[in-house]
Symmetry: C2
Subunit: 370 residues, 2 copies
């Protein structure tokens, strides 16, 4: 794209450890700080690079935990200091995105914000840009706009949105109204949705005028809204900010933006969607990571710089953060994650159960490896 | 047993790395220096403890490589210095056992030696002792006597010996003559042998008068015999030994004792056998190690002191030499061997292929982990 999108500000919520990717993802090395595609850079940096042509380096904000400030700034040397919004502790997506909206709308009343997770994988730059461009046009009209992913398979791993009638907006030929949200379906239902092209995956991308977003939060979560406004009023005043954050932040309700913004807006016919035709993956577990990195069903994908890996009729994925020799013999669809202080061995089939191990480690006092 | 067996001298050939147990077994940490049963001590020490009541601590000799001298002496503090026979380099079992026979017969012309591998697992002390006691009685009569293991399953992993008519020897009620040796059979043949109780596993234990053993070597491998006699003549003379070893040892033919002693003796009706009713395992690969250590089909066996192992519906074996947290989810019959510089993941089914990995590591210049 030649120019950035007028009024557009990109917001990257960089929170969430990604427990299903333990022991790769850790409290001090969350998913967004990893290279999960072999691109040579972190998912956070990939996200930045994707948004920079759309918003400009001065108009990307990151909402992240205090513990990750240094890592985020190292990854994104071009980010202005004032665009790193630090959370005292995790308060879920409505607080994170709402805070960014509240701060940015004070700086710039007609700002249109678009929030994009720091730890998703997207392939297809042009189609992504075209989708955001359309979404911004729709947002300008007062809609809350999401980008729904055109399903590439009948996945049971994602929520779906059903698009309804066309929405006539200049510059957004693919815009539609979202009729309803559907939670993760069973396989039969997913197959139906896949066949019926009006269902899209909910990828958690929201583009809207900041004032419209805040109005929706005010209506559905007035306490959260009040807290965010109070925080925003002092945010850009370094001297006043600290005490207010210390007092207000811990009181913010923990709730997902889907519940306080997207679903209520959909009910009122105010949620729009642009179908995204690009490849998208939230890399939710090692099965997803394996698929993302493998070139064939019977191949072994390798993530990491370890060149001392020997496979004899093995398939699946090895993630190695060590320089140990790793030898896999005859194991199919295997998942091996090799780190200095923890080793995971499972299969794609059981990848969803990794979170249970993390819970068990917490309960049994082995939190040192989380 | 109250007393040791008259004239009996135990010989423990402690050689062989156990490549199929890589990366647990290494050139500098061969199989016999590992605790493979969770007993808390090495297989070598287990072997010593088994033989000490039969021979006495002063009458056990170990034949091992120079590199393992310190480890052997650490494991066996009771061994007399003069009973550690050091090989300059590995020359197979006929040279190792033949050397011991040649040295010991000079010290004690009517000695009866029994050789027992340093890295096998035996359970059932009393039945083992009774078998050796009988074998010594048979050996005293001039036979070369082996202890054949009564098969506990139709294994295709071992060679078999067919016992023929009874042998009338006082103090050896179970003695029989060996009619023939059979190489590792296919499964159908193994089932036949298992049903026919006259077939026993060849466990590589040989008990015989040293002079009888040497005569057999002289007949079937005269070069080897000549070399061994030359070595033995100077062995107990520290000043003369060095140059002779340096000159003669490298010329010794590499050959297994089965070929130069047991099989030719069997052909002449001079090989006897005592059936061993104890549990025996040569721990030839990780499948065998898993079976040896597991308490049930669907359990996960753990070898090593690592207490930070989590299993969620996993079965097989984990061998851990590190203190890393190891988490296994849903993997069945898995073999995970976790060491500081190498990791192996395979299944019992593919355990025999570990040797191929070792070969590949040699060929690709990663010998540092062997």
């Amino acid at each position: 794209m030649a120019d950035t999108l007028p009024n557009f500000y990109a917001v990257i919520p960089a929170g969430g450890i990604g427990s299903r990717l333990w022991p790769l993802s850790r409290a001090d090395a969350p998913k967004f700080l990893h290279d999960l595609t072999g691109s040579g850079q972190t998912l956070l940096r990939d996200t930045w690079d994707r948004l920079e042509p759309l918003a400009g380096a001065d108009r990307i904000a990151v909402v992240t935990g205090r513990a990750h400030r240094a890592a985020v700034e190292e990854q994104l040397p071009g980010i202005p200091d004032r665009n790193v919004f630090l959370e005292s502790d995790p308060r879920e997506s409505a607080a994170a995105i709402g805070l960014a909206a509240a701060i940015l709308v004070r700086r710039e009343p007609d700002v249109i914000i678009g929030s994009f997770a720091a730890d998703h994988v997207i392939r297809g730059t042009r189609t992504f840009e075209f989708a955001v461009q359309q979404a911004v046009a729709v947002a300008r009209e007062g809609y809350i706009c999401t980008i729904g992913i055109q399903p590439s398979e009948p996945s049971v791993g994602f929520g779906y949105m059903r698009k309804d009638g066309e929405l006539i907006v200049d510059g957004a030929p693919e815009a539609a109204v979202v009729e309803r949200f559907v939670e993760k379906p069973d396989l039969d239902t997913a197959k139906e949705y896949f066949a019926d092209r009006s269902y899209l995956w909910n990828a958690g991308m929201f583009i809207s005028r900041a004032d419209v977003l805040l109005a929706e939060i005010a209506e559905n979560a007035p306490d959260l809204h009040a807290g965010l406004i109070e925080l925003a009023e002092v945010w850009d005043d370094r001297e006043r900010r600290g005490p207010v954050v210390d007092r207000v932040w811990p009181t913010l309700p923990k709730i997902a933006i889907d519940y306080v913004v997207a679903e209520p807006a959909a009910e009122k016919g105010r949620l729009a969607v642009i179908p995204g035709h690009f490849d998208w993956d939230d890399v939710g577990d090692f099965a997803s990571l394996a698929k993302l990195n493998s070139h064939g069903r019977n191949e072994l994908a390798i993530l990491g710089k370890n060149a001392r890996i020997l496979s004899d009729a093995a398939s699946g994925i090895v993630v190695s953060q060590t320089s140990r020799v790793i030898s896999l013999i005859g194991v199919k669809d295997i998942v091996v994650v090799d780190t200095d202080d923890a080793l995971l061995v499972t299969t794609s089939e059981h990848a969803q159960r990794v979170k249970g191990v993390v819970d068990a480690l917490k309960l049994t006092g082995r939190g040192d490896v989380l």
